[in-house]
């Protein structure tokens, strides 16, 4: 227990097991199958609720209040004492455009063009992409390539801006909000189980380990009914 006193409260001694980052999606309802019928709102409403709930912290107002605007395209490095409180960059919900839920509160679920948010796991001090923003792409994991005809990525072309990194830890980086990439599946084969793999691409990202299917990539299933 003396051992515990030697630990830093800000940064864990080792971070070798948590990096490179894993990937998660929202909506998240106990599994990685997103299945709904457009015509039956009750089948997609839980997903929409989950998205709204998740994005509350990204409301433009909240972000403006708590966080600062940062310079895009470079790491937001905050020196100074380790124990100093760190500033967090704004990530406004509106950046997600069609997937922000502002214009379309159903995130496209009502039209059969669902939005799915992709989030990279937080790792203290990690600088993804080594200077080049990490980008996201999606493809059909198994099955016909043509099942997935088009995906739109927001913000930008589906990149995580460098300014959101590095993360300084829960103690000091209190208001930090993970940057997101929204994937708008505008044209997916209907009435069919489509297995999709979305991966991160960038320097230092590993996305092809068999044993960990959430490391640098995520696999989920879309099943959109009429």
């Amino acid at each position: 227990y003396v051992m515990l006193l030697t630990l830093s409260p800000y940064t864990p001694t080792y971070r070798d097991r948590v990096s490179p980052p894993g990937v998660m999606i929202r909506p998240y309802l106990n599994g990685f199958t997103i299945a709904f019928n457009v015509s039956q709102p009750s089948t997609w409403q839980p997903y929409v609720d989950s998205m709204h709930h998740f994005l509350t912290a990204y409301d433009d107002k909240v972000q403006e209040e708590k966080n600062i605007e940062c310079v895009s395209g470079q790491y937001f490095i905050q020196g100074g004492n380790e124990s100093e409180e760190k500033k967090a960059c704004q990530f406004k919900r509106s950046l997600l455009q069609n997937c922000s839920g502002i214009e379309d509160p159903s995130f496209g679920y009502s039209t059969g063009q669902p939005c799915i948010l992709l989030k990279m796991n937080r790792i203290i001090g990690y600088r993804p992409g080594a200077g080049v923003p990490v980008s996201v792409d999606c493809k059909v994991q198994k099955g016909n390539e043509s099942d997935l005809r088009s995906v739109d990525f927001y913000p930008g072309n589906g990149t995580f801006d460098l300014m959101y990194y590095p993360y300084y830890g829960k103690m000091t980086h209190v208001n930090y909000t993970s940057p997101l990439v929204a994937m708008h599946f505008t044209d997916v084969k209907k009435n069919y189980l489509v297995h999709i793999q979305c991966s991160l691409n960038g320097k230092g990202i590993i996305n092809n380990i068999n044993s960990d299917r959430f490391l640098g990539r995520i696999i989920f299933t879309l099943s959109i009914g009429k």
Partner: protein, 983 residues
């Protein structure tokens, strides 16, 4: 009835001919009908049954249950389509493998020790000289059939029950059958109605001592007298060995703890709303953690190591568990002849010139120390040398005299060797004093006589020498030689002779008298025709020269061994077929009856009162005659066994031996019995440990015994006792060592269930400790030297001194075990904390932690982890837990070297094998973590180097704690501390 029939009737009955024997064809026919001439070995348990027994014995049942549960839960999970159900399948397979492998191992060990025995009994195939098809043939003895004519000569073992039809000076040693050690003469005459008593039958497995004989085989194999007795012996049930009882007790104890904790936590986890399936998996984990899988194998190895060590010291152990039984022995019933004694007659005392001289009787005598200057001795030595028919077998000139093989009876052999030691080259002396006539010893004359030319060329007289029963010799003498001069034999001198004779006889020795006469040259010229039938020479008015007495002397190592037994609290009882006086004399000389103690008869003699008036309680020693024993009630026997500490049973039959053994066992003693004859086998079986003689023992005795004494030496038994006691102590240490870490393996499961932390150690990892790192160290403890003189304490009490007692369990489980768990948990928490999960975060996270869908699990610092990253961390936790248990087991191993003494008194480096154990332990751990760290199925990960040292302070704490415990035990013997902390 064959002994009553005449030769021709026999020929008719068996369809054979004395001169031609059977035809080969006829013999083959009978062989097919009767089967081979060998004893059917006791029915062996079929190999497959033995194997299956190993598979379900001990903890195997628990592990099978574990395996079956794993498969059931695998089946359920698989049916439900869960993501990783194969873990449970693997676990089940591993558990089953563990059971099967340990089963095979135990089976192999047992088979190996059985094989040693089997090879031992098959050493020499016996041959027999048979007349068939009118030709003499050498045949293997098991090919003999009824009606065969066999020839036997001195030294042969009788190959079947034989009706003798022709004999020449034939004597047989029936001791293996009746226990009588005196050779009995055999002739063709029907002398007794009882086939056992009649002289014209020689029995299977007895030996022909001298002479030759021819006979018809009348019984073969199991139909022989011996065969019938041997089948009786298998009727006496085998007693369970003390160590088997102890291990059973231990298995019940540990299995009881495992099952009750398992079920308790099963109930707890069900009531805590865990799924039934999960609860079953916990149950398996708890059982696996609690059961010391490797321990039984370790015990087997330890016992066989000791067995090997004992074999080196001439104790061949047939049944591994007998190793320890020997250590708990409290009474040894020992034979006299061959075991306590050297089994050869040796000249012990001489009487000439009115004085008794003692001779050296040790095994490797090369000179004789007594005064040899008297001319009487010269005369005596001449008689000893010349009046003797025994001869050395040729071609043994390089062997020590005592080891040479002699043709002749026991007394003559003794005299020959005695003379050879003092005078050298007896054969040459005999050649120079050519024998001209001889009358061999017979029971009517009771003397032996020969007439020789002298080696002095100027002395043309013949020398007549005679030896025999002293009183008969004296009768024939008119003079006696004193200091080389012949003096008339008056009353006074005759009195002196009587005193000496009584004194030597009273020492249980066989006394022979010697006399000589120089025949006057004028009456007996060179050419005088000596005729031994008409005795045309004087056989009275001879000159008495001296007495020689012989005894089968005790082995030189025996008195020491007996006193060792005494200080070890083991009662040594002599059971012999010999005469009480001889038995008592030997018992006194080896210390079975100590110098100061008296028998009832001694007291009576000293106080000069009749035997009946002596207070029996005053006598510590007792010499019981077989005849008295026959009339005794069980109470009386118990009374003798209880009240006398030094007991000799003389003139006992092997059947009475069984009664004595049972009497001892009624006193609650663990009884070791030595025996060599076939008739001993019931007693050997009945005894807690039967010890057969390797040299003199019959096959039946060896079969019935648990142990074979290769050198027939009593002292070897005592070495065996020492080893047996040592292994009991060391097994205690091994078990204490092994049980300790079970707590450190069990706690993770309990805390996992109660506090819902991520799993600290995996079931497979536990198996790697139990069957990997811990095996060699626990075997190493079997090599530990004794802490104090273990031969100075009483034998352990079967009922009170358990192998696993409360103190051992409490100390191992609740003290050292808990310390170890704490040490391991500290390492575990350190690993997690340094990776970002502080202990406070870990509490209660189990459900989310194990959820496959949560791949952004947040740690104490806000970092997010995928499931696999968490799993990897969990495995690192397993590895860290494993490593710290290993490190602390090193300390545990060191403290277990002693139970009372400080490690520094015992010597930290004296037992090299313990260090081999420590290095192997660490080596295996290194290989597992770094070598196999990338094989995910084993759940090991390469561990940061510093985590190896987190548990070191705890290891040191364990050591210091135990040193303090031992210090208090030594300081305050008998105190509360001593009673509760000494295991």
């Amino acid at each position: 009835d064959d002994h009553k029939l005449s030769t021709s009737e026999l020929e008719e009955k068996y369809g054979t001919s004395i001169n031609k024997g059977l035809s080969s064809a006829r013999a083959a026919e009978i062989l097919a009908r009767d089967g081979p001439n060998s004893l059917t070995p006791p029915k062996a348990t079929p190999e497959i049954v033995k194997f299956l027994k190993q598979m379900v014995g001990g903890f195997s049942i628990l592990l099978w249950i574990g395996a079956v549960f794993s498969w059931i839960s695998f089946g359920i999970q698989f049916a439900q389509g869960a993501e990783s159900p194969f873990d449970n399948l693997y676990l089940g397979v591993v558990l089953a493998l563990v059971v099967i492998l340990t089963g095979i191992f135990a089976y192999y060990q047992e088979a190996k020790s059985t094989n040693i025995m089997a090879s031992f009994s098959k050493m020499i195939p016996q041959q027999a000289l048979v007349i068939r098809d009118a030709e003499k043939k050498e045949l293997p003895a098991d090919q003999l059939v009824v009606g065969d004519i066999v020839e036997i000569k001195g030294g042969d073992r009788i190959p079947a029950d034989i009706r003798l039809i022709f004999t020449q000076g034939c004597k047989v040693d029936n001791s293996s059958l009746t226990g009588e050690s005196e050779p009995q003469s055999r002739s063709c005459d029907f002398t007794h109605d009882n086939p056992l008593e009649t002289r014209n039958i020689a029995f299977y497995s007895t030996t022909c001592v001298e002479g030759t004989a021819t006979g018809i085989v009348i019984n073969t194999g199991d139909r022989t007298i011996i065969g019938r007795i041997a089948s009786l012996a298998s009727g006496v049930g085998n007693e369970k060995t003390p160590i088997a009882i102890e291990i059973e007790h231990f298995v019940y104890l540990v299995a009881g703890v495992a099952v009750s904790i398992g079920v308790l936590f099963f109930i707890i986890s069900v009531s805590m709303r865990y799924k039934i399936l999960d609860s079953i998996i916990f149950l398996i984990g708890i059982i696996v953690a609690n059961v010391p899988e490797g321990l039984l194998a370790t015990v087997t190895v330890s016992l066989s190591l000791t067995a090997k060590r004992m074999a080196k010291k001439n104790c061949l152990v047939k049944n591994l568990e007998a190793v320890e039984t020997l250590g708990s022995t409290s009474i040894i019933c020992s034979d006299k002849t061959g075991t306590l004694t050297q089994n050869r007659m040796t000249v012990a005392h001489l009487w000439f010139d009115n004085q008794i001289y003692s001779a050296d009787t040790s095994e490797d005598q090369t000179t004789q120390p007594f005064d040899q200057s008297s001319p009487s001795w010269t005369a005596l030595s001449k008689i000893v040398t010349l009046c003797n028919r025994a001869e050395f077998r040729p071609g043994q000139e390089n062997l020590p005299i005592m080891k040479r093989v002699v043709v002749g009876d026991a007394s003559e052999t003794a005299l020959l060797k005695f003379a050879e030691v003092i005078l050298g080259d007896v054969m040459n002396i005999r050649a120079r004093n050519k024998k001209v006539a001889e009358i061999p010893f017979n029971s009517t004359n009771k003397f032996q006589l020969s007439i020789h030319e002298t080696d002095d060329p100027n002395d043309k007289r013949f020398l007549l020498v005679m030896k025999g029963a002293p009183e008969r010799i004296l009768e024939r003498c008119s003079t006696i030689m004193i200091n080389g001069k012949e003096e008339p034999l008056d009353n006074e001198k005759a009195e002196a002779f009587q005193t000496a004779y009584m004194e030597l006889g009273g020492m249980g020795e066989r006394v022979l008298g010697f006399c000589h006469l120089y025949l006057p040259e004028n009456e007996f010229p060179d050419t005088y025709p000596f005729d031994t039938d008409s005795m045309n020479f004087p056989t009275s008015n001879l000159c008495f020269v001296g007495l020689l007495s012989m005894i089968d002397p005790p082995r030189s190592t025996v008195p020491d061994a007996v006193s060792k037994c005494r200080s070890a609290g083991i009662k040594v009882i002599m059971v012999t077929g010999d005469h009480p006086i001889t038995a008592k004399a030997i018992a006194k000389s080896v210390g079975i009856i100590s110098a100061t103690s008296e028998t009832v008869e001694d007291i009576a003699k000293r106080l000069n009162i009749p035997v009946e008036q002596v207070n029996r309680r005053e006598a510590t020693a007792a010499v019981v005659n077989g005849m008295e024993l026959k009339d005794m009630s069980l109470q009386q026997l118990d009374d003798i066994l209880c009240n006398h500490s030094e007991i000799v049973f003389a003139r006992t039959s092997p059947q009475q031996k069984l009664i004595i053994v049972e009497g001892c066992q009624r006193q609650g003693a663990v009884v070791a019995v030595t025996g060599d004859g076939v008739n001993d086998s019931p007693a050997l079986k009945k005894a807690d440990i039967g010890i057969a003689m390797g040299i003199a023992g019959s096959d039946a005795a060896k079969n019935a015994a648990d142990m074979v004494l290769l050198d027939d030496n009593f002292a070897s038994i005592v070495t065996g006792v020492e080893e047996g006691r040592l292994i009991f102590d060391n097994l205690k240490k091994t078990i204490a060592y092994t049980l300790t870490k079970n707590i450190a393996e069990l706690c993770p499961f309990l805390i996992y269930i109660i506090a819902s932390i991520p799993m600290p150690i995996g079931t497979i990892t536990i198996l790697f400790i139990d069957l990997g790192t811990d095996i060699i160290p626990s075997v190493a403890l079997a090599y530990e030297k004794a802490e104090s003189d273990i031969m100075n304490r009483r034998p352990r009490n079967k009922r009170k001194d358990r192998l696993v007692n409360e103190q051992l369990a409490v100390y191992s489980y609740l003290q050292i075990g808990i310390m170890q768990s704490v040490g391991a948990f500290v390492t575990y928490f350190t690993v997690y904390a340094e990776q970002g999960f502080l202990p406070s975060t870990l509490l209660g996270v189990r459900v989310d932690w194990e959820n496959n869908a949560i791949n952004d699990f947040e740690d104490s610092y806000g970092q997010e982890w995928t499931k696999y990253q968490r799993m990897y961390l969990q495995w690192t936790g397993y590895t860290a837990f494993f490593v710290s248990i290993t490190i602390q087991q090193v300390a545990d191993l060191i403290i277990r070297k002693t139970r009372r003494n400080s490690i520094f008194q015992q010597g930290l480096f004296r037992n090299k094998v313990v260090w081999v154990g420590i290095f192997s332990q660490i080596g295996i751990a290194l290989i597992l973590t770094y070598g196999l760290g990338h094989v995910t199925a084993l759940n090991f990960t390469p561990l940061r180097f510093q985590y190896w040292f987190v548990a070191v302070p705890f290891a040191i704490l364990i050591w210091v704690y135990d040193e303090v415990r031992k210090l208090f035990i030594r300081r305050y013997p008998g105190s509360w501390w001593d009673k509760n902390m000494y295991y």
